[in-house]
């Protein structure tokens, strides 16, 4: 219960912002928070988390707010890398060959979701393959 107190503001915000399938439980001294929400709510929760635990250094929370749950095939996604191009690979792993690239801020189309970390996409000029979802933002 102590951890739920420490992160009370975070849990309250998640509830207030209508996070779907919100699941909060504690095990072995670590708090686990799971749920689905939009990208902006996810960002808000992460900023709150950082404020409550600067640099996330306590290591007592694992928070997985999924901002991509509702995105359907055919959706448009924007490439949101820090500064570089996004690699398009032949398979859902960084071990797979790079078969193409999408530029930062380019808009691509979702073909299918392999899992939460890797999606199959295609670009307007026909390049297709798997990219890391960390750098794909639904429009």
């Amino acid at each position: 219960m102590a951890l739920q107190e420490k992160y009370k503001e975070l849990i309250d915000t998640a509830t207030a912002q209508g996070v779907n399938n919100l699941n909060v439980r504690e095990q072995d001294g670590i708090l686990y928070i799971d749920g689905d929400a939009s990208g902006s709510v996810k960002q808000q929760l992460w900023d709150t988390y950082e404020r409550l635990d600067p640099n996330y250094s306590s290591g007592d929370l694992v928070m997985n707010i999924n901002s991509i749950a509702g995105v359907t095939e055919g959706s448009k996604l924007k490439v949101t890398t820090n500064s570089s191009n996004l690699n398009i690979r032949s398979g859902p792993s960084t071990d797979a060959d790079i078969v193409g690239k999408a530029a930062r801020h380019e808009v691509v189309t979702l073909v299918s979701k392999a899992n939460d970390q890797w999606w199959e996409i295609k670009t307007d000029d026909g390049e297709a393959g798997y990219s890391y979802t960390q750098y794909l933002t639904p429009l």
């Binding site: 095990q27 992460w46 960084t94 899992n115 970390q117 960390q134």
Partner: protein, 166 residues
């Protein structure tokens, strides 16, 4: 006459076996690729992270433990639908008090952590019993992005106490 017939037969058998082997190689995804595809699918489902898989000649053998029969059946269905999986041998144990927090199996988690840290070459990550331990250094501006990616992988815990944040 007898020797010639036997030699011919042996040659034909060898040829047939080679043909069969080549056909096998070309038309089916290799076991490694199938294993990776199964692990990918398992990692993505929040309810079924308690399983691990070995694939041999298209037969996927599952092990691990989950808290109930429904979860075990769900995993079976998911794995059976992966292209390249010919059949599923489900040796997953149903143990009633399996922890409610699903933690990804070490192999899958290690591979996923490798992908997540690829863009942060100054960070090294090791995985042990579901705990991700980070060392090395990272720019403060990149820390949130890295933590977001790692938190999504269903670890038991992330220890960044040894990570230098610049």
């Amino acid at each position: 006459m007898k020797n010639l017939t036997m030699k011919t037969t042996a040659f034909l058998v060898a040829l047939a076996m080679m043909a069969a082997a080549f056909t096998g190689c070309k038309s089916e995804p290799k076991d490694d690729a199938v294993k990776a595809a199964v692990e990918t699918a398992l990692l993505g489902n929040p309810h079924i992270a308690g399983a691990s898989v070995v694939v041999e000649k298209g037969v996927a053998t599952l092990s691990g433990q989950v808290p109930d029969d429904a979860t075990k059946a769900d995993i079976d269905k998911t794995v059976a639908s992966i292209p390249g999986v010919k059949s599923v041998v489900n040796n997953i144990a149903v143990v009633a008090d399996t922890p409610s927090v699903a933690v990804a199996q070490t192999d899958m988690l290690t591979n996923a952590v490798k992908d997540a840290t690829k863009d942060f070459p100054t960070v090294t990550a090791t995985v042990n019993d579901g705990v991700i331990t980070l060392k090395g250094e990272i720019q403060k501006t990149n820390l949130q992005k890295l933590m977001m990616a790692l938190n999504a992988l269903k670890p038991k815990k992330i220890d960044n106490s040894q990570l230098v944040i610049k």
